[in-house]
Amino acid sequence: MNTTKTTYDRRSFLKSSLLAGGGMMLSVSWLSSAKAADKLQALNLPEQWVQLNGYIQITPDNVIKLICPNPEFGQNVMTSLPMMVAEELDADWKNVVVEMGPHDNARLGPQFTGGSNSVRMYWKPLREAGAAARQMLCEAAAQTWSVPVGEVTTKAGVLHHASGKSAKYGEMASKAATLVVPKGMKLKAPKDFTIVRHSKKNVEGHKIVTGKPLFGLDYRADGMLIAMIQHPPGFGMKLKSFDASQMIKMPGIKDVFTLKLYPDGFEQGGFDTRTFNELLVVVGKTTWEVMNARKKLKVQWEPMGDVKDTMTGRSGKREVTVPGELETTSAQLDKMQEYASKAAQQLRKDGDPETAFKNAAQVIERTYNAPFLAHNCMEPMNFFAHVTDEKAVVAGPLQAPGWAEPTLSKLLNLPADKIEIQMTRMGGGFGRRAYSQYMYEAALISKKVKAPVKLMYTREDDMTYGIYRPMYTATYRAALDANKNLIGFHVKGGGIPEHAIHANRFPAGAVDNYLAESWEIPSNITIGAFRAPRSNFNAAAEQSFLDEVAEAMGKDPIEFRLDLLKKAKASPVGKNNEYDADRYASVLTLVRDKSGWNKPGNEKYHRGVAAYFCHNSYAAHVVDIVTRDGEPYVERVFSAMDCGIVVNPDAARNMVQGAVVDGIGNAFYGALTHKNGAAEQSNFHNYRMIRHNEAPKKIEVHFVENDLDPTGLGEPPFPPVFGAVANALYKNKGKRYYNQPFKPELDKRI
């Protein structure tokens, strides 16, 4: 549990960051003023941490505390980000302790976990922070020893001089903290890395295996009450009336009431998505008492009708009408088919696709569908809040505290500097926890009952609440000439309520005549980012389709893609192609070589390949299926990644392996369907998750070796798994699978 008491006044940091100037680097403000350092030194406590800058604190006895700025949800930033600081600091990793930072965007940067951005975003600022601190320590030693600073060297947390003098960082830290922070530090060349690129264990590993309270749901405070929300049984429903007369008398129950989340006309930020605005809240002493009492609530619900929301965002303020219809999956599929046949919005056009298709000797057309998916983080949504008239303390699992704070400030009518957000470790996120409505709910409940409160969603609350991966469809068409050359490519994709098309991704840029179009159907089923948003469907559909096109052209699927990439490199078609053709090709050749593609020795496997680029990294997988107990089973996977410099190799492999398992699970089983507005799955008995016996026996992960600045890994390996599974399944079953999840069709249930 992160309950750090910060020893600084937040406003002083805001001030120093303003002095430092603008831009992201400078929003990472250095604690550079002698004033602030004086303040720390004036405490004159031998064990006091001496703070060299926002990220680095050192004790006189040489313990180095590095602050992790970004929330941790399993992507291992609490280890990888401090590794970057420690590298340039020349710290001894053995003496490093890591602590989750407080929420303080001014001092610690954007603090957003999502978009596979943490490592990429902090790569430069964190190394500069380490290098600056190292330089200050050298300067302090030079002054103390009366030698030129250029003669002071460092190694593993110790300062040296040729005269034989040496000192541990801790001995020089107090003096160093009084010095001016240097700027424009020269950073190490990758060949000199001793920490980055060298696997380090998860810094919270021991706490995890011993069950220490790390997560939001573990948070506890004196006098804390438990709150739960009864939400409507379906999307498009709202509360009509309720009778709590029976349950209010039950043991431990304190209060039952309704509460509005956003006032009428409230301007919601882009990540303020909520499904239901009127909350029916039960508050009591313990979880079990509240759970039980809630079952005794007598509630009547009614259709909500069309609702207007006011949204604000980069495109300005806009009114959005949310339709009130109670939706059913079969009707949604029919509606998608209807929309797919209508004119759509053109996203990109190269050449003359109409003529290419008209003149084609062969046209291949295939349609792919995928359902809503629930994030199903193992830790359900929850948040702690203690709100008084003067201030608010909130603590819990959240991916984007900086986005949530302005809304919370408006809802509570408290200035931001009266709001303290503590970031706990998250039991998974996958995009779900970028949407903070559960934090707002907790805060409003605490304000109402005038007590510290922990709001908890049960698994059922969590799974049936919405903020899902959208429901998608896409129709792909390929035009081949008489010599089986690919002369035209067309994708038309739609979704409820968003489409998935990335118009500027491969194979855009590699085909002379290209057209991408999209359409959307509004819905009251709320959606949110889900591990590699949009890409998680695109890669499935497009990579299955390309497999089929390669087959029709009589080409090997890897060679076919490499040929297209060669063309995209040599004579790119159109503008704004988002991918680097060489890097894309490099993961394909790596996975081809490592998997022994087309090489003898793999006859027992039905093999499928897919590759994709998203979130600045490149991924390719070869999936090997065998038949086990009469069913297709992914026994083995080879993965190749290009994410530039791999900061923490073993943890990176873990991330890729996990994404592969997650992808296989969602490809075969993941689905959230609806009947009359209600989610038909509510818990793990009817929402199937991949389990131990269904995971591959082996997932071999390889990284392209280069010295490019690192990019993320949380999302990129996930999307192409779906396509590779579909392509291997085709080899195994002799039949193409177009509808996710694949399992019902394999079982002939549909």
Binding site: F215, L217, M378, E379, R459, G658, F684
Partner: protein, 161 residues
């Protein structure tokens, strides 16, 4: 409400609670032992597993009234210093991603090895398939169980000598 005297992690704990309260919530809310996790509440995910007389059971389905004299072990009590062979193996293989399900995975694995110190892949699958990991760390869990099994079987064979 009823009074209970429970044997948890080798200590006697007294409490006065609704007899139907699952051990999961007794541990988390009444005894301030939040290492045991809530994941589904219907014995489908395994995050809440504890040992009842050495057997891994989902504590969300175990009413406090059913515990009686049986010894309860939680993740907090699996070892004094976090050095049970399974815990050590989890660190060696750097298993965890988000880490939320791992207490349940570890308790299930520890119970398996107690009964079967040389589990096959199929034994591991059978024992562990009640535990969901949304991050997908299953491969490392399996490797870690095999490492722990080596340590368990080495130490038990040396005891026999």
């Amino acid at each position: 409400m009823a009074k209970y005297s429970l044997k948890i992690n080798g200590k006697i704990r007294q409490l006065d609670v609704d007899p139907a309260t699952p051990m999961l919530w007794v541990l988390r809310d009444h005894l301030d032992m939040p290492g045991t996790k809530y994941g589904c509440g219907i014995a489908q995910c395994g995050a809440c597993k504890v040992h009842l007389n050495g057997v891994a059971v989902p504590s969300c389905q175990l009413p406090v009234s059913a515990v009686g004299n049986q010894a309860v072990t939680t993740i907090e009590g699996l070892s004094a210093k976090g050095d049970h062979p399974v815990q050590k193996a989890w660190l060696e293989h750097d298993v965890a991603q988000c880490g939320y399900c791992q207490a349940g995975q570890i308790m299930t694995a520890a119970a398996l090895l107690k009964e079967n110190s040389k589990p096959t892949d199929a034994d591991i699958d059978a024992a562990m398939s009640g535990n969901i990991c949304r991050c997908g760390t299953y491969l490392r869990i399996k490797e870690a169980i095999k490492s722990a099994a080596k340590e368990v079987s080495t130490s038990s064979s040396s005891t026999r000598k």
